[in-house]
Symmetry: C2
Subunit: 360 residues, 2 copies
Amino acid sequence: MKELQVALNNDRSYPIYIGSGLLAQADLLTRHIRSKQVLVVTNETIAPLYLAKLQTALGDYQVETVILPDGEQYKTLQYLEKVFDQLLAKKFSRNATLIALGGGVIGDMGGFAAACYQRGIAFIQIPTTLLAQVDSSVGGKTGVNHPLGKNMIGAFYQPQCVIADADVLDTLDDRQLSAGLAEVIKYGLIRDPGFLEWLETNMPKLLARDKDALAYAIERSCVNKAEVVGEDEFESGVRATLNLGHTFGHAIETGSGYGHYLHGEAVAIGTCFAADLSRRLGWLNDADVNRIIAVFKAANLPVTPPKEMTTEHYVDLMAVDKKNIDGKIRVILLEAVGKASLPVNVDLAQLQATLNGYAG
Amino acid sequence: MKELQVALNNDRSYPIYIGSGLLAQADLLTRHIRSKQVLVVTNETIAPLYLAKLQTALGDYQVETVILPDGEQYKTLQYLEKVFDQLLAKKFSRNATLIALGGGVIGDMGGFAAACYQRGIAFIQIPTTLLAQVDSSVGGKTGVNHPLGKNMIGAFYQPQCVIADADVLDTLDDRQLSAGLAEVIKYGLIRDPGFLEWLETNMPKLLARDKDALAYAIERSCVNKAEVVGEDEFESGVRATLNLGHTFGHAIETGSGYGHYLHGEAVAIGTCFAADLSRRLGWLNDADVNRIIAVFKAANLPVTPPKEMTTEHYVDLMAVDKKNIDGKIRVILLEAVGKASLPVNVDLAQLQATLNGYAG
């Protein structure tokens, strides 16, 4: 087992445990649990696979559960309320612990519920998708979607620990695996060109679920994520670079209806947008853009957007992105392959040209 | 105008402005507003009285509004969502500012919406009830109610400033004025015996809305609140003493249906419970308890509970209080008149005796 540290101020630092068979190691959990009251938030897909294992590991505790439907379309205030209902029905105290057992949706909702219940209880992330293990479970971004914008309602709220058990990827379907690789590739593109080269070489192994290759990809992704978050917990600067492709991606997710595209799929398409826009600014050349498209394709990810979305649709949806200031649309681009820009105000004509190019 | 400071760590300190005619002083507001986007959250009672004045003061800004129905029964996630709907419909950025113009309900909801929207935007408290001016607008507790428990969903989130304009109390009805006095009396009981004596002498002036007396009561209350919050922002210790009477009070509010009792009324009754329980522990004598009941009566506040609530009902409702640990009911009591206890585990037999005494 590897242990990485997310180094934050004010006692908010926490470990990420990465390895095999971690779900059965009760002490990894129990050292971070404050009282006997534990609520596991999970979903209908994950519960039959891993909930019993977790309950066995926590045999001495009062373990209650909330099982949500599976999918981004359920990441809403309405479904969040089901978590509060259960916490209150079971009379859970402020020293209770919430465990989020699932992918990014469960982690975001569980974390946000923990942030809000009695103004904050402890929580533990047990990510069960590659995407959640390499990205969303680390760094304390929690929240739910609004019909008009993704992740628009939420909190920065750090977990007590993250337990990334590579064994759970065995049950992940191929589409979900590829979606996770989109965020893995992102780290290579924004700040780790050596990792990008490794990914270009080892993509077949990753898709074949080679254990060592996956473990390495998870660890190196988490190291990158932890460094960025440790430097800028509340996204006043460099943390925004983790949003490469996300402004476009969120617009695609919102515009096509939550749950239609997986988050990682939308991010892959969005990153190809960003690469094209970077080329229009003279930061990337044609070979760079083609290389970026190729690595996403190698991961079996989509690189072209939904045909039904118009340019106006994108501009409208991107106008509520969290990076925007005073209504100006701001995106992360690439100054080079392996080097993200800080948020840049988008020239609308160039944005339209990019979107037209893709929509065309 | 007086300016008090709430002294907190990590740049979260902020001023409380107390005085007359403050709503018309645009610069008090504008120095705390980050961009042109301003959302005013208020209610149907307050909007006709003060919204236009605020809009005039903010003539140069894009001022949008959300007008909620008036009452504790609307302090829910469902009504909170109306604030998010408007923020997103108007495409407000993360540097937008939310102004909560109203009593405790509006302040709690506005603050919580600001805490969650895009994981946190700036907000300003303009309390329009005595209760909000002396208590709920100061200290950063925000949130909404759940059918099973009051203030169970929320965040610690500090405003940029609090503007307590004593003029707005002119339009406050007598019942609301008295409800505010319950929290004023609380400061005397928990930590400021000299203030309690002043209140015993000056209660008729306060009820007659003597401007100087009200201004003094607001200021001294805010000084007390700011000191306690500055010492213990996140309620790991002394801040819990501000909850004197609130554990019982919340049970009364929840049990009798939100909106039936005003918060201050329920706190007055709950504080009389707490006094009785303190007597049973030998901390207060009969004269102390009678003195406490007398000061609430002098403020035209209720001191006996709703007849329809049973002892079992109280115990059940108090079992979800935020001060509880591992299911044990904990309350703030009085070690003396003018000196609160820290949370104490309640002896159920004594609690039953107190409740039976009141219910009988």
